[in-house]
Symmetry: C2
Subunit: 185 residues, 2 copies
C-alpha cells in the first residue's frame, strides 16, 4: 500500500491556534483522536506553525471537517502557516475567539472542542504528540438534536480514506452501542 | 452531553491478544488511532486482560469492526476477558494465529494490523497508553480493489457515535484529498 497500513476511520481534525500577532491559523491532522474521557491527542511534525503557537499560548481548538467544508479543510492541510500567513482567510473561513480558550473557532465549522495544553512530548518516530484537556465545547444549534445532543447526521463529519486518497462522509446508523452485544450475553 | 465532548469520528478498534494459555481475547477500543506512519496508540483502563496479555506477549492485532460484525464487536466491548474466558467463542468469532506476530486474527474481521509493542505508559488520567509498531497487515481479498488497495466501501468499517450511543457505517466519497484544496492555492 502506498501510504502504508493505517487505522480506519481516520478523523480529519482541524486544529485552530493564534499566531504571535493574533492571526488565526488552522491545520489538518489525521493522526490523532480521543485519548481519555476529557483529553485529545494530536501527532504532528516538529516544524509546524501550530506547534509554535501552542507552545506560546498553551491553548488550541479542535474542529471537525464536514462534507460542506471539504475544500478549505483539504487546503489547510496542504498549505503551511509558516509560508502562507493568511491561510485561514484564503480558505474562506471566518474566525472568532473561542469562549473558554485563547484560540479561534470558525463560523463555517459547526462543532469545536476547546482545549488547554496538557503536554508536548517528542516521540521516537520524529513527530511530537500534543495532548490537551477539553475544557469547553461550542456547537452550532443547526447540528443539535431537539434535546441538545450532537447529531452526526446533521454535522456530517468527514474522514480520511488514506488507501484511496479520498474523503468520505459519515454514514447511516447500523447498530446500538452497549446494547446489540447483550444478545450474546 | 451525557458522555462529554468527544472527537468524531471515533473508531471501533478490535484489539486481539493471546491469554497465558493461548486462548484468543478481543476487546473494543474507541480511544485510539494512528499516531505515526507505522504506529498505533490505544488508550485503555489499567485493569484489562488485554493489558496483561500485551505485557506478556509484547504483540497484538488491531482489526476494525464492520457493519457485518456490529453484534460481536459490541459484545467484546461489554464483556471482560477477566470474567468471561471464552468471550471470543461466545462472540461467534474464529481465531487464527497472525502471520507476523504472536496474536490472533479473526476469520470474520477482514482487515487487521499486526503490531509489536513499542511501550506501555501510565497516563495522568488513570488510563494506560499502549503504542505499537505496525509490522504486518492482513486483508481478505473480498475487501480489496483490483489493484490491491483496501476498499473501504467493501470493508464497511463502523464508527462509534458517542452522542447517540450508536454505531454508524462509513459513507460516500465527498472529496479528493491533497487535491480539492489546490483550488484555493
Amino acid at each position: 500500500m502506498k501510504r502504508g497500513p493505517v487505522v480506519t476511520p481516520l478523523p480529519v481534525l482541524l486544529v485552530g491556534t493564534y499566531d504571535e500577532d493574533g492571526t488565526p491559523n488552522l491545520m489538518n491532522v489525521a493522526w490523532g483522536g480521543q485519548c481519555s474521557e476529557k483529553h485529545v491527542a494530536l501527532n504532528i511534525g516538529h516544524v509546524r506553525k501550530t506547534r509554535d503557537n501552542i507552545e506560546r499560548t498553551h491553548e488550541f481548538t479542535v474542529s471537525f471537517a464536514t462534507a460542506d467544508t471539504v475544500v478549505p479543510a483539504d487546503y489547510v492541510g496542504i498549505v503551511s502557516g509558516l509560508k502562507v500567513k493568511d491561510k485561514v482567510a484564503r480558505a474562506g473561513l471566518h474566525a472568532q475567539k473561542a469562549q473558554t480558550v485563547n484560540a479561534p473557532v470558525f463560523d463555517e465549522l459547526p462543532l469545536t472542542l476547546e482545549c488547554r495544553l496538557d503536554e508536548i512530548v517528542e516521540t521516537k518516530t520524529e513527530e511530537i504528540r500534543i495532548t490537551g484537556e477539553i475544557v469547553g465545547m461550542s456547537a452550532d444549534e443547526s447540528i443539535l438534536t431537539e434535546d441538545g445532543k450532537v447529531d452526526l447526521a446533521k454535522l456530517r463529519p468527514i474522514m480520511f480514506d488514506s488507501a484511496q486518497n479520498k474523503y468520505r462522509v459519515i454514514g447511516d446508523i447500523v447498530g446500538d452501542a452497549f446494547k446489540d452485544g447483550l444478545k450474546l450475553k
